[in-house]
């Protein structure tokens, strides 16, 4: 951290070596009374999210700073919360974690998860030592919605669980010279976009009704059944008369394919945008992150499927360096324990290949460890008691979900099939699940989803690099010469520089500087073999100012050694982009060998 004077080691003690201040255990016995009661059983429009952040700022003075980092295409303010105890230092002077949600407008619950993280830490600052340390020693940059236009549109316009993924900049998806001219149409005026089906004479249909539940249509393909139903897609008409329905709706691109690392144009990667960061939302976020090298960890929230995803997004990138994979695995595997029904996965290998994804850029472009969680998994509906796969998975899954609707929700999330006149198809039926079913958690299960995911972030933040100078000693070599050895130790899982950052020269290497009046530094370098101190990697130039390209490894040590002439006092200073600055006076060695 270049911009901040060195802090004492007291503040940044590791998890194990804590300086314990006893506090009242207010949460015990269920007597906890939140300072700010936020109903965590619903989802909020963008302005409501911002209003909650303002309430937090007012409830906890000195912890919450709100910054508008840009405006969405439709002009909504992108308000970022810089969260930290400002009394111990400004957010920008601390090692920080980035948390965002909702780059896909319909994947709303990431916004609440990001908000919940801030809220929980603030509520527990007084009572929970680890929450207090996170807010005293670390910072969070929290942007609940990367895509406020898509978010609000999902709430307020007729949509499905999967639509309004895009931002709202008009886009000509069908290349007819018109933009956004053929989206969904709410034909029955119920505010929902259902599926359309039409009964046809037996033998002319592609589907038949499930004998166990006539609400379900099953495909005849691959069976000996005769079909009497056609499935006609989502509710809509051919607005532009081109023979297709709903093929050019609002927006029509994917901001999670618009990031610079491994970006490819739209004919190679669907939705990529005309060039990297061409959208105001992605651009504002990228400019913020590029200006904040103190970000050492990142989390992005999506839905759904129950996944803890990391890059690479393409096999062609090659595997990430082994040291980084080890750190990723440790956090990801802990996440699987914290998040039942979630699996820790690699994007290209376990989900699908993408070019230009956000968490890919954060790691591959900025060298920062980053996860993307897919919140909510359908086995959670019945707590995993129903089969997730099976011989007739499609039918079983539909039946399970309708069971859920019928029993647990008393029919609240399903629109029964009902007749509507369609200008092209004639009499059809419209029905299906409402948008709040399938990809977002049901209201009564929201808080658990938010808590588990927020705590996954907190754990990640706890493991951001935590480097200390554990010793700095000088040994007299005679003839006016001394050998100085400084030992740096990182107690956290994450290295102060990812191996990827080191390999690609991203950002600034860590610096270890030896200072002293009247002292001539003859040589300096990393010491790999403490028993053969002559065999150290002498720097080619400027031996008093060592550049540690690899930083200090996670749960590891780095030894730096100098040969100096002259008797003045010496001081070792450590400076890193992603770890707190340290400084220590060099003391005489008790014993030879350092």
């Amino acid at each position: 951290m270049m911009r901040r004077p060195a802090r004492t080691t007291l503040l940044a003690a590791g998890l194990a070596a804590a300086c314990v201040v006893p506090v009242a255990a207010q949460e015990a016995g269920g007597t906890w009374q939140p300072k700010l009661e936020i109903p965590w059983n619903r989802y909020y429009r963008h302005a409501e999210l911002n209003a909650w952040m303002e309430r937090m700022r007012d409830t906890w003075p000195g912890f919450v700073e709100l910054r508008e980092i840009g405006r969405s295409y439709e002009g909504r303010p992108m308000v970022l919360m810089a969260l930290t105890n400002q009394a111990t230092g400004a957010a920008d002077d601390k090692v920080a974690m980035w948390v965002d949600g909702n780059v896909h407008g319909n994947e709303v619950q990431g916004g609440e998860a990001a908000l919940y993280l801030a809220w929980w830490l603030l509520e527990h600052y007084e009572t929970n030592e680890r929450a207090r340390k996170l807010l005293d020693e670390r910072a969070f940059y929290i942007l609940p919605s990367q895509n406020p236009d898509g978010r609000d549109h999902w709430f307020d316009a007729p949509n499905t669980a999967s639509s309004s993924r895009s931002g709202k900049r008009p886009y000509d998806n069908d290349r007819d010279g018109l933009v956004d001219e053929d989206g969904y149409d709410d034909l029955d005026g119920d505010g929902e976009i259902g599926m359309m089906r039409k009964r046809v004479p037996l033998g002319e249909g592609t589907h038949y009704q499930d004998p166990d539940d006539p609400r379900i249509l099953l495909p005849v393909r691959g069976t000996d059944k005769q079909g009497d139903w056609l499935l006609l897609g989502s509710e809509g008409i051919d607005n532009d008369g081109d023979g297709r329905i709903n093929e050019d709706g609002p927006g029509g691109y994917d901001m999670n394919r618009n990031w610079p690392s491994d970006w490819q144009p739209p004919h190679i990667q669907y939705g990529a945008g005309d060039y990297p960061l061409c959208f105001p939302e992605t651009r504002a976020i990228a400019d913020f992150l590029l200006a904040h090298p103190n970000v050492a960890a990142a989390q992005s929230f999506h839905n759904s499927g129950g996944m803890i995803l990391r890059g690479p997004g393409q096999e062609s990138i090659g595997p990430y360096p082994a040291a980084d994979v080890a750190a990723y695995d440790e956090l990801g595997e802990e996440g699987e324990l914290m998040l039942p029904f979630y699996r820790y996965m690699i994007l290209w290998q376990d989900l699908y290949p993408v070019h230009g994804g956000f968490v890919n850029w954060v790691y591959e472009g900025l060298g920062v460890f980053s996860f993307s969680n897919e919140l909510w998994a359908s086995p959670q509906y019945f707590g995993g008691t129903r089969e997730r796969t099976g011989e007739n998975w499609y039918a079983t899954n539909r039946r399970n979900q309708l069971d859920w609707n019928d029993s647990v929700m008393l029919g609240d999330v399903w629109i029964d099939w009902h007749e509507v006149e369609h200008p092209l198809y004639g009499t059809i039926e419209i029905g299906g699940f409402k948008r709040q079913h399938g990809r977002v958690a049901p209201s009564f299960m929201i808080e658990e989803m938010l808590h588990r995911n927020a705590m996954f972030c907190a754990r990640h933040a706890e493991e951001m690099p935590r480097v200390e100078i554990v010793s700095a000693t000088a040994e007299d070599l005679g003839g006016g010469l001394r050998r100085v050895v400084a030992v740096l130790e990182n107690k956290a899982v994450l290295p102060s520089r990812s191996a990827w950052a080191a390999r690609n020269h991203i950002g600034r290497p860590d610096l270890v500087v030896l200072e002293g009046d009247g002292v001539q530094v003859l040589a300096g370098g990393r010491l790999a073999d403490r028993f053969r101190p002559q065999r150290f990697a002498m720097a080619d130039s400027e031996p008093h100012r060592l550049l540690l390209e690899e930083g200090v490894p996670g749960r590891g040590r780095v030894r730096c050694q100098w040969i100096v002439r002259g008797g003045g006092t010496l001081r070792v200073r450590y400076q890193a982009e992603k770890a707190d600055d340290r400084s220590a006076e060099v003391t005489a060695a008790d014993q030879v060998g350092g």
Binding site: P260, P266, Y275, H505
Partner: protein, 545 residues
């Protein structure tokens, strides 16, 4: 030691006068950049064109040093599908000849007499990298945008090249070193060549740019002023993590403004780039399937570029004397350049020229010996500073000398008018080439009781395609819209009343359409309408034969 860009002008002048006068004959050529207009002069002149009839002047963005990125428009007028040519000069800021020629073209186009303006709009960016161009003429090396830590030592711009001997130039240092890579040509001590063990060469020297090792890292001039190169900052084949490429593609406002301008105008059919690379002198063969990192256009587009290149460099016919014109030397294919973006992502027909090289001897490209001979003949040897001893504070005795900047890639100012005429002629020659839609092969059969079956073929009679093959592949350029317009009461029985054609190649590329419809009694014929943002529109009546 003072670095060059801080050197007072007076010193610069004084040292120039002490140069030994060459023994060769007097010459009428002015050593470049003598007589060249500075970037600021050109921008000022262009600004003065504002308000002139048929000329528009746009400021697309401002540079880091607050120079405007100017874009001139000539013959801009409305109408769907009026096509356009975009000329972009010196995007790397290393070839001042490009902006000199571009300014010459601007004056011609402003006069309004070019036949090209009848057929198309011309957009011209006379100085695409104004800061770099300005510094090149003033300092002798192109300045490159925002400060960057090229050598990754947590300091930026701390080790620039330096004018050690105070002659106003940053040249080369020849350092005696038996472990070096170079030796002097035995026939001409000025010329250095790489030692080749296969020829029994014994290396004698190292060659470095003139300068000090300011930061003591044993590397010379490795972290000079600025760093982000506009010509490495475009999205196609952008090199992530290369400092000169910028933090992300189009991070530089000048580039992004130009990109947006092009993307908003699918009617820009041809992009002509005057820069360091030359795809016209030696056109690419083209490939069947250009991959995401291709440097070669699709075969169809390469064939077209070759046809156009022959206008500049006609093949020698049997028994005729070949053309005397030397083909310009091309810089190696770069990464993240404007031309590649315009070709592979914006999908336009891109023509690139390096404009000029000194005459070649044997081959079609000048060798080092050819260059020295040209220097002696054209400039009386003044373009090359002979090696002179210098006591380097870090390296000990060295020699300083070498080519003056600009001499090898930029002609004497006296040649600029002829060069400008060549390119004005080339641009004028495009006037008849643009894609043109025509309806042909219209057949309408009366099937009785008003029922008609009609066929019509839409043909592109121009040389250029409606969109390039690469443009078709990008899927981002508009298609040709075809409409059947039936008179009131008419009924479509077969076919579609609105449909699209992807691309019609030049020179007769075509697509046939067919309809079945019924006309009301006594009505006029049905009509067909084709319309393209890249090729204009055309109507026809479906008259029964």
């Amino acid at each position: 030691m003072v670095s060059l860009h801080r050197l007072p002008a007076g010193i610069l002048f004084a040292f120039c006068t002490f140069l030994p006068l060459p023994a060769q004959q007097k010459s009428t050529n002015t050593l470049p950049p003598g007589g060249y207009l500075s970037a600021d002069d050109i921008l000022a002149h262009c600004g003065e064109l504002a308000g002139k009839d048929g000329v528009t002047v746009r400021e697309l963005a401002r540079s880091a040093e607050d120079r405007p990125l100017l874009l001139l428009g000539f013959g801009e007028r409305g109408g769907v599908g009026r096509q356009a040519v975009l000329v972009v000069a010196d995007p790397d800021g290393t070839r001042p000849v490009a902006s000199q020629v571009a300014w010459g073209l601007a004056q011609e186009l402003a006069a309004g007499s070019s036949p090209l303006l009848e057929a198309a709009t011309v957009y011209l960016v006379p100085v695409a990298n104004p800061d770099a161009s300005a510094h090149l003429l003033a300092d002798g090396f192109a300045w490159r945008g925002a400060p960057v830590d090229e050598d990754h030592d947590a300091r930026s711009d701390e080790d620039p090249p330096d004018d050690l001997d105070g002659d106003g130039l940053v040249l080369k240092m020849r350092i005696p070193d038996p472990a070096g890579d170079w030796l002097a040509d035995p026939n001409d001590d000025r010329a250095m060549r790489r030692a080749d063990p296969a020829h029994g060469d014994r290396p004698t020297s190292r060659l470095l740019d003139e300068g000090l090792d300011e930061d003591g890292d044993r590397a010379f001039n490795e972290d000079g002023p600025g760093g982000v190169r506009l010509e490495a900052n475009w999205p196609h084949r952008w090199r992530e993590h290369e400092p000169a490429a910028g933090p992300y593609p189009l991070s530089e406002p000048l580039n992004r403004a130009l990109a947006d301008f092009v993307l908003e105008r699918p009617n820009i059919a041809v992009v002509l780039v005057f820069g360091a690379e030359d795809g016209l002198a030696r056109p690419a063969e083209g490939v069947a399937e250009p991959g995401p990192d291709s440097t070669e256009p699709p075969k169809e587009d390469a064939d077209l570029i070759r046809l156009l290149a022959e206008r500049l460099y006609p093949e020698a016919k049997d028994g005729e004397q070949g053309p005397p014109r030397t083909k310009p030397r091309s810089a190696p294919h770069g990464s993240g350049g404007f031309a590649d973006w315009a070709r592979f992502q914006a999908g336009r027909l891109v023509l690139e020229s390096a404009l000029w090289s000194p005459p070649a001897g044997e081959g079609d490209e000048p060798t080092e010996a050819d260059l020295l001979a040209w220097n002696d003949a054209a400039y009386g040897g003044a373009g090359f500073v002979s090696w002179r001893p210098f006591d380097h504070p870090q390296l000990g005795p060295v020699e300083i000398g070498g080519w003056k900047p600009l001499v090898r890639d930029n002609p004497p100012v006296e040649r600029i008018p002829a060069l400008t005429e060549t390119w004005a002629g080339f641009l004028a020659s495009l006037a008849d080439d643009f894609a043109r839609l025509e309806w042909s092969g219209i057949e309408v059969h009366d099937l009785g009781e008003g029922v008609c079956e009609a066929r019509a073929t839409l043909v592109n009679t121009g040389l250029l395609p409606t969109v390039t093959e690469m443009g078709r592949r990008t899927g981002r350029l508009p298609r040709i819209r075809i409409e059947l317009q039936l008179p009131e009461g008419g009924v479509l029985l077969g076919g579609r009343d609105r449909l699209f054609a992807e691309r019609l190649a030049g020179l007769g590329g075509h697509q046939e359409f067919r309809w079945l419809y019924r006309l009301p009694l006594g009505s006029g014929p049905a009509r067909i309408h084709a319309e393209s943002l890249t090729a204009g529109s055309v109507d026809a009546a479906l008259e029964v034969e």
